[in-house]
Symmetry: C2
Subunit: 558 residues, 2 copies
């Protein structure tokens, strides 16, 4: 029996993209493997690709079809792209959730908001504690990252040991939380590692990663020399950075005020989990109004330019009674994620108009990444000496580069993007199956598939504008000559200067009496004919072919 068992790995999200991490491991006879899920993250939509969508979730149909085989869900850390989908997806997977305490606080809130029983979330201690589930033994091995209690997973089956890196960096002095523990990793690797499934986001960064502990001197100096109010933004979940920022404020004799819900929540969670033990006392935004601006430091959300977060609100004017002025200092202790440059630029321009000093990573050294750079990835390869390296968490180019790096150092590198099933056991590890796995959009309260056509239809309206037409077919199956037309997202008039709506109405009015009964009786044919005329008029007048929606009211004899 045993030799028929296999160990598989299937990325469902996060492989071929940055964000939305979701990975599956399986062990057992082919088609009957017991499964565990690692992470259920989200990605964030944009107008360019998913207008109006609230969140992007992994497409878990593959898992749902095999729901009875899922033994557990492991969450490596509390970043949204790892834990964000747990509330939305749990009802479709219904397996116990395992994570460490800080992560659990967030997972539980999400489960609670979705109406799921919190008893499904199990808090696990760090390695060497082991969770045994079916054929799996799983441990949470602490790693340094930009959030507390981030962990890699040590996953043992009879096929051997797999290390799932989670998001990590090599940081021996992370300010808050657990430092990189080389001895622990050497111990974990001592009996051999079959496969290392490893974070690839920073594989193109060639310099050795920098420690969080290199930042406090610069930030302290900046705040000490600031006049006016100081505002600093970073990811709320970067508790170490919050500590550094707050310490710098206190050292400069300033009161600390946290602004933005996520900021409050993260500090509270940090205290609850016991990872944040000497964060200074803060003042509420309301009480902060009584403090002179030169004695105040705000630590705020919105480092990525999010429109409704505190940074954007402050850049637009008064927010919670606070207003920035010429001579204040605004520190972006953060990296602008690709795609967010324009939103962040918006805020910085608004701040510049007020006369606020803007300080960011271009002006000095105010941010370090939470991910392992290329030399740090290589160091982990060297410590773990895995037979196989499977790059995860990265766009295709990151995965490929990481696999090449592994191969150049004598390991087997396997590139597997979302939907590619890798057989890790056996003599020739590699991709053996492809599944069509898309993305699921949370649109309002509804789940919409990436390929359902719903969002595509919206984008077409946005690109082309819309002509809405109503025609009436009477009780005798005769079409009335009049058409009723409305334009949406189109100019009132084009080249002829005549009202475009009226032109379209007239032209359809001329068409309708000429149509023969076969067309009038057939909704599709009628739509085709009306659409053609409406588009022709628009093309001629405004050089665009809009979308057309036709409503045919077929009146019935009473």
């Amino acid at each position: 029996m045993t030799d028929r068992n296999r160990l598989i790995y299937l990325p469902i999200g996060g492989a071929g993209e940055i964000g939305m991490n979701c990975y599956v491991y399986g062990y057992g006879p082919e088609g009957q493997e017991r499964l565990i899920v690692v992470d259920t993250g989200v990605a964030f939509p944009d107008m360019d690709g998913q207008p109006g969508v609230d969140l992007i979730l992994p497409d878990v149909e593959w898992l749902e079809d095999r729901k009875d085989r899922i033994d557990g869900i492991f969450i490596t850390h509390a970043h949204e792209d790892h834990v964000g989908a747990i509330g939305h997806l749990w009802g479709r997977l219904e397996a116990p959730v395992y994570c460490r305490k800080f992560t659990a606080i967030h997972a539980m809130r999400k489960m609670d908001e979705a109406g799921h029983d919190l008893a499904n979330v199990h808090v696990v201690e760090a390695y060497p504690e082991v969770v045994e589930l079916g054929p799996f033994k799983v441990s949470f091995a602490p790693v340094a990252h930009s959030i507390p209690e981030a962990s890699g997973l040590v996953i043992d089956t009879k096929a051997g040991r797999v290390i799932h890196s989670g998001d990590f960096k090599i940081d021996r002095h992370p300010v808050v939380g657990e430092a990189f523990d080389e001895d622990m990793w050497r111990q974990i690797a001592a009996d051999g590692v079959l496969a290392y499934v490893c974070d690839s986001t920073n594989v193109f960064s060639r310099h050795t990663g920098r420690s969080e502990s290199e930042l406090p001197p610069q930030i302290t100096e900046l705040v000490a020399n600031a006049r006016g109010m100081v505002v600093a933004t970073t990811f709320a979940s970067n508790i170490a950075r919050l500590q550094t920022l707050a310490d710098a404020g206190i050292a400069a004799g300033r009161s600390i005020c946290l602004m933005g819900r996520a900021m409050q929540r993260m500090v509270k969670a940090g205290r609850e989990a016991g990872v944040l033990t000497d964060f200074p006392t803060t003042v509420s935004p309301e009480d902060a109004l009584d403090i002179p601006r030169e004695s105040l430091m705000l630590i705020v959300t919105g480092s990525q330019g999010e429109r409704r977060a505190a940074s954007a609100s402050l850049s637009r004017g008064k927010y919670l009674g606070h207003e920035l002025k010429e001579g204040d200092t605004f520190l972006f202790s953060s990296k602008t994620i690709p795609g967010n440059e324009v939103s962040v630029g918006f805020i910085q321009n608004a701040l510049a108009e007020i006369g606020v000093e803007i300080v960011d990573d271009n002006s000095g050294f105010y941010h370090v990444s939470g991910h392992a750079n290329r030399p740090d990835i290589e160091m982990m390869h060297e410590i773990l000496k895995p037979q196989i390296v499977v790059p995860c968490h990265g766009e295709y180019r990151h995965l490929r580069e990481h696999a090449r790096l592994a191969m150049s150092n004598g390991m087997t590198g396997v590139v597997a993007a979302n939907g590619m099933l890798v057989e890790l056991s056996g003599n020739a590890p590699g991709v053996t199956e492809h599944f069509e796995i898309g993305r699921t959009y949370l649109d309002g309260d509804a789940f919409v598939g990436q390929y359902d056509g719903v969002i595509r239809e919206r984008m077409k309206m946005a690109m082309n504008g819309m002509v809405v037409v109503a025609v009436i077919v009477d009780e005798g199956d005769e079409v009335l000559e009049d058409a009723w037309v409305q334009l949406k997202g189109l100019p009132e008039a084009g080249s002829s200067g005549v009202n475009l709506q009226e032109l379209v109405e007239d032209e359809i009015g001329r068409l309708l009496p000429r149509l023969d009964a076969k067309v009038i009786d057939d909704d599709d044919k009628l739509e085709e004919a009306v659409k053609r005329v409406a588009r022709k008029v628009c093309l001629q007048e405004i050089g665009k072919k809009p979308e057309v929606a036709l409503l045919v009211s077929r009146l019935m004899a009473e």
Copy 2:
């Protein structure tokens, strides 16, 4: 009389943004100033802000209202953000156009495409040649930039000398075209400079700018060591870079093939204008099919990830018969403009899937900027010693930083964004008037104003989806009970699992008979009532409030 004359500067585009440059200078009594226009550039739309729009043009209403006072239009160089709008806007300004030869080739093509007489474009030689127009004497002073024959303008009136920098860098060895000519600038500045209106795009770049001539060694080495086919992309207008790339190809024994219309056009224009004298012979894409891939180098358009350009086409598969393979090399000899990261990433990921080596500015030194960095801007301040510095071409934060830099060196710095009129003459130079100046969208063939609501309506459809409803009011002013509904960009069903279209139809069908005559007779009230019900159903079912379009067919007694 003379003392009543004033010299004014009014940015219409390019100040408070990067791109879409358009500036006005005026001299004369207030309200009767004679005017010249400097540049008529475009900006490029995106899904985020202007879905479906083809081009963004300056809003020239202010100028159109004063059309009889415009003496001329000066185009500093042939980049789209300086010359791109000339064909679209000329008919509204109708003033003679002045530019140097290479620029004129492009301006004339655009005028021709728009059906304007080419005789309106006048080719001017470089400084010291002077164009005299009313109170203005204007010269084109050559500058180094990333396109041939780029120029600053020396604008003289009785109020003094103004230098309009145009886009420029300090480059003493630009490979192709005119080098930075310090002596010329010292001579121009010898009798004093009233104002320097100066490019600000790179004011945050703290290191001294690098010369185009630093690139050939790296690029030559890269191409020499490449296996397989080499593909290189850069801005087609960067003729010097095309020369460097082509030279590197030839040195490695490769035939050069240009791909993409802009690429062909620019090399042709460079030859016509006499700025490109020893560009190697190229082979057509068709003939290139007969050349072994290791003896071929393609120089292609699409460095910014443009979907229909050659780079994107090659990344998707066969293009003009050519297909990339594992081991080929793809060089991005370019900078990714903020906002284009995702499109460029798309191409790079597609190339990585094929197994192509991707080389870009992260992998080595394969690009230099065409704009003056902070130390270079300071050098020009130092050479010209203007009384006033008015930063142009930059977002607000760039303008402000540049003005501060000028002030810290003892000059008067004036920040003026689009619509802010600066009086340069007089004792207290500064902003004296604000005009509401937006942007004009070219949408198909139609001009749409930024604030017309047309694009906003499209974005709302994209965000919220659309419910289209038809109701009928019969000859007796009675509303029929039935409503006809279509959903656009919305899921078929929501939380109840029932077809959403039918639910909306039913609910409106229940509403209609209950409406009283005053509502039925009034299109707005009827729309309000129907909209409220349609949105309520959708909010309940899918958690979204869509846009609603209502068509009321009011039947008339014959």
